[in-house]
Amino acid sequence: MKNTKFNALFEAIDSFLRTPATVTTQGSHIRDAVDMKRIMITVMIALCPALLFGLWNVGYQHFIRLGYDTTVFGCLWYGFLKWLPLVIVTYVSGLAIEVLFAQLRKEEVAEGFFVTGFIIPMIMPPDVPLWIVAVATAFSVLFAKEVFGGTGYNFLNPALVARAFVFFAYPSVISGDSVWVSHAPQDAITGATPLAMVMNGNVEAMPSMLDMFIGTIPGCIGETCKIAILLGALILLVTQVADLRIMLSVLIGGYVTAVAFRVGGLCAVPGYQQLLMGGFLFGAVFMATDPVTAAHTQTGKYVYGLLIGILAIIIRVLNKGYPEGMMLAILLMNIFAPLIDYCVVQANIKKRKKRVLNTK
């Protein structure tokens, strides 16, 4: 199969099974053992706690709404059966396009989609029709990534583009009170997320802070358990895969803005609670830190993170149409990240020009 039209696929599977036999030919003779495969698998490991809890929670939310008693394993199994088709559909539709483009470009298949395809099911409602997931994934891989040159050249986070696609093209499957609980009975207790409750002024019905922190609330698979997300954040920070600058500045930006709205009387919930609701923390840890679409300069990362936090809360509080602001805030800042970098680079250039003037 090597050197045929399936070369890209062959190479991908071959290097997946065994590390490549290539040796250095120029430049430094020894190299770091890390490669993009290792980085991506680290991100996937960091996502696992949130995924495991999320799978259980899908089952748990379903069964308590139906009034059934169930076991931990029963909930997990229900969630797993919901998640498995989603993840298969995502990988098949996304990887098919990736392999095709890699073959056309005569390049190796980049690993970026392993994480994207892992995240997409974690930020979709559990009952989303599979064909919509397939279309959304294909759209994001094609139009957010491949048309710009593939992994590394994209300026928008592909997983978020997939979600935004569903959000704008098929709003009924991803908004409203009933979508966040799998097969929620229409007459049962509402499955509204805390964000929707705040938007509708229904603050009294909100779950306790502890529930929101542990994650036993309706929501996407990945976003509900804050403990699991923080565990993932810890893995990403210890392994130095994600940048602390971005995570911290998103949280600070979000918190300060939320407190400001609370003081200004525009929002009824306290600042720290905004950080626990919806996908804010998941976005801050796993989405905003995507090294390709975030700002590339060190100073730029602070600005980028702060603005994501600020924008997410502004959208949440001021836009009555969208209860969740994190997705749009990150996508918007993805677009502005090159501008932030441009400003930082120009500042560095200016400093150098000033030095020339001073020495001459």
Binding site: T22, S28, D32, V34, R38, T151, T239, H296, K351
Partner: protein, 446 residues
């Protein structure tokens, strides 16, 4: 002045040279390679069969024919080795006898810088000098802004200069005063390692002394120039290694011309490390016999970051003082990207090896992955101690945007300054090549 370098990386390798002499016996074969001198375009001045003295010009630089590369020995031209498009790869020489590596030359004591530069050009000592930007042999007419001498090498397994200079202390001292005249009294900067054995360097007067601490590339002259007196467009800075200073010093003090090099045999694949004396161009094949511990090895002139592989003609490069031998890689590992990797060396913390207390890592020449686009955007900053944005400069170099490169500080860097970026890059970018190609473009443009 003290300077602390905080960004950088000391790669821990086994096989640092111990302070013993390896008693390396020179063979009679010598090879002088134009590629040892960056971007030199050789114009051959000898023919096969010609008799040579130490200091007889072998080839001149077509760009400036005053710059000549001379014979390091007394003997005969055996063969001119040519490669593609008849490019000269090496001039093969045979030594006349064992004493034919130095030559006594009589000349009146030089009174000014011009005469010194003339003598250095005539006897092939001028190529000991290199200049920043471009890391090439400097133009004999341009007077430098300053002269930098890095008095320590921080690269992996680098030899100690105190051992390399043993017995040459007075020549080094004299060399400094010669350089002061040759550079028309440009400031000379000696950059030493804080807390190291600096006896030879501290006794020198009329120079600026600086002390550096921190990981590699603290010893790189590029890092030191950037901290002390950064280069801007139009500036020229000379730099040379202490051994080369001593070589120049000996010529002007004792009137002895010679191209001896003392170097260290190092590396994880070497069973018996140590120091050895050689002469520029000498065939090193015999050096490796019975001294290596692994069978498939890569022998490198220089260090593992910036050295070149010794292939058919194993000689030490003109400016090098180290030979490193590492195991050749390429062993395939089943799902290696998923395993804990207890013995894998990584600057990142993605393998469990960073938790291990016993720091013996497997180092070989494996690339450990496939080439990708720039993705991990913050990894270069951690090992690049310049006030330059490495990723932005690399991208400008990649697309050969000369204006942008100049604005981002290309004149301050050489490809060796990006060696660590290249090592730690998970996308396996050839950072040094990107910078080197950009420098070629820039030089042609200027």
């Amino acid at each position: 002045m003290n300077y602390k370098i905080s960004k950088g990386l000391d790669i821990v390798l086994k096989g640092k040279a111990i302070d013993t002499d390896l008693n390396f016996v020179l063979s009679d074969s010598f090879y002088v390679k134009p590629d040892d001198f960056r971007w030199l375009k050789p114009k051959l001045l000898v023919n096969e069969g010609d008799m040579l003295e130490v200091g007889t010009p072998l080839f001149a630089d077509k760009q400036d024919e005053r710059i000549v590369i001379v014979s390091p020995i007394k003997g005969q031209v055996v063969r001119i080795v040519r490669g593609e498009k008849r490019a000269i790869q090496a001039v093969t020489l045979r030594r006349a006898d064992e004493t034919a590596v130095t030559r006594q030359i009589d000349f009146p004591e030089p009174k000014d810088g011009r005469t010194i530069r003339q003598l250095m050009l005539q006897y092939g000592l001028w190529p000991c000098l290199r200049q920043r930007p471009y890391a090439t042999i400097p133009c004999p007419d341009a007077i430098p802004k300053s002269v930098f001498i890095s008095c320590f090498d921080s690269s992996p397994l680098a030899p100690e200069y105190s051992i390399l200079l043993r017995g040459k202390e007075v020549f080094f001292q004299h060399g400094i005063s010669v350089l002061q005249m040759a550079s028309e009294q440009a400031p000379i900067h000696l950059c030493m390692k804080q807390g190291a054995d600096n006896k030879i360097f501290e006794s020198i007067d009329n120079v600026a002394k600086h002390y550096f601490s921190g990981p590699h590339p603290a010893g790189n002259v590029g890092t030191q120039i950037h901290r002390i007196a950064p280069i801007d467009k139009g500036d020229v800075v000379w730099y040379l290694t202490p051994q080369e200073v001593a070589r120049i010093g000996r010529f002007f003090m004792a009137h002895v011309l010679g191209f001896e090099q003392r170097a260290a045999l190092t590396g994880p694949a070497v069973a018996h490390t140590g120091y050895f004396n050689t002469v520029y161009g000498a065939d090193l094949s015999a050096l490796f016999a019975n001294r290596l511990s692994v069978e498939t090895v890569r022998c490198i002139s220089g260090n593992v970051l910036t050295g070149i592989q010794l292939a058919d003609i194993p000689t030490l490069r003109f400016h090098d003082h180290q030979v490193t031998v590492v195991e050749e890689g390429g062993q395939r590992e089943f799902i290696g990207w998923l395993l804990p990797g207890f013995k894998k060396w990584s600057f990142s913390h993605t393998y469990t090896s960073w938790l291990m207390k016993n720091k013996t890592y497997e180092h070989n020449t494996s690339l450990h992955g496939g080439r990708r686009t720039f993705m991990m955007t913050d990894v270069y900053d951690k090992v690049f101690p310049f006030d330059i944005i490495p990723l932005a400069l690399l991208k400008a170099c990649y697309v050969k945007d000369i204006e942008q490169m100049e604005e981002l500080g290309i004149y301050e860097v050489d490809d060796e300054d990006f060696a660590l970026c290249e090592v730690v890059c998970p996308s396996k970018m050839e950072c040094q090549k990107i910078v080197r190609d950009a420098l070629i473009e820039l030089r042609m443009d200027n």
